[in-house]
């Protein structure tokens, strides 16, 4: 499949099963969550969002994390303990980067499963990122943008404008929830 080839070319796709589940149809979602609601007859349901995330978790979590650290190199400031991040090659091969990507995506998965309670889902993480990790919330927005680009590059046309719209709202809501406890 074209998408797997292009990712394999970069060495970024390391999933053992290269075929993520095909995105399902777009059933109308009855859920109305924090502006995650479908609009103008376009739908991108939470189940579809979950499907996308599953696909990412299977093989692309490393891709997502290294992309952030390479495209926005100043984000490396938070990962001094991750070892060698001195070049794109080093970042690509760094197992801690991959592991962290997986952690972050798993968190997103929790958000998608619990769209009504995103603020609560991330309350503790918000406090952690403010009080202990001292992470500028701008980084959550950068990360959200990267996630969307990785989704787009992997799912190509299946990542329709409506899906992108829904995902933009989701990443905004997550970024907001993560920043909510900052003081």
């Amino acid at each position: 499949m074209k998408k797997e080839k292009s990712l394999a070319h970069t060495g970024a796709f390391r999933g053992t099963d290269p075929t993520p589940p095909a995105p399902g149809l777009l059933p109308h979602s009855n859920a109305v969550h924090h502006g995650f609601e479908p609009s103008e007859g376009h739908q991108c349901s939470p189940s579809l969002a979950h499907t996308f995330l599953q696909g990412l978790l299977w093989g692309l979590h490393g891709a997502f994390a290294w992309r952030l650290l390479i495209v926005y190199p100043w984000t490396q400031r938070f990962f001094a303990s991750f070892g060698n991040l001195s070049s794109a090659t080093a970042v690509l091969g760094n197992p801690m980067v991959r592991a962290h990507g997986k952690k972050v995506l798993t968190s997103f998965g929790e958000a998608v499963k619990n769209l009504d309670g995103i603020k609560n889902t991330f309350a503790h993480l918000s406090e952690l990122h403010c009080d202990k990790l001292h992470v500028d919330p701008e980084n959550f927005r950068l990360l959200g943008d990267i996630l969307i680009i990785v989704l787009a590059s992997h799912f190509a046309r299946d990542f329709t404008p409506a899906c992108q719209f829904a995902w933009q709202k989701l990443v905004n809501v997550v970024a907001h929830a993560l920043a909510r406890k900052y003081h």
Partner: protein, 135 residues
């Protein structure tokens, strides 16, 4: 240029105060900016804020005095921000905005629309120089 010099001249007499007030306003209005200063005492009147405020204003004055070569004048600071500090670029706008607020409060007559435009443009240019070597 004259506008900027005039504005900076007025600021220059109160470097420490303006700088400190700029930072305090930024930390209060945009609490996320505090994440870059976990090692600072951020209480009102803190000596660290005063000292850092003075540094910031001195850098701005230096830039105004070399308006035709801001990147040369701030080259070392640019290196520092790229290699060590790595402050997200969005924050320079926040700092610049708070600086304008401080000028507006203390010298409202300086901040004519034209001067405001000049100063804002200048502050954007400084932010751009400081983040120019990020990648």
């Amino acid at each position: 240029m004259e506008t900027l010099s005039s504005a900076e001249g007025q600021v220059g007499d109160h470097q420490e105060d303006f700088g400190a007030e700029t930072l305090e306003r930024m930390f209060t209005a945009y609490p996320q900016t505090k994440t870059y200063f976990p090692h600072f005492d951020l209480h009102h009147g803190s000596a660290q804020i005063k000292a850092h405020g003075k540094k910031v204003v001195n850098a701005l004055i230096e830039a105004v005095n070399h308006i035709d070569d801001i990147s040369g004048a701030l080259s070392k600071l640019s290196d520092l921000h790229a290699q060590k500090l790595r402050v997200d670029p969005v924050n320079f706008k926040l700092l610049g905005h708070c600086f304008l607020v401080v000028v507006a409060i203390h010298h409202p007559s300086v901040l004519t629309p034209e001067a405001h435009a000049s100063l804002d443009k200048f502050l954007c240019a400084v932010g751009a120089v400081l983040t120019a070597k990020y990648r």
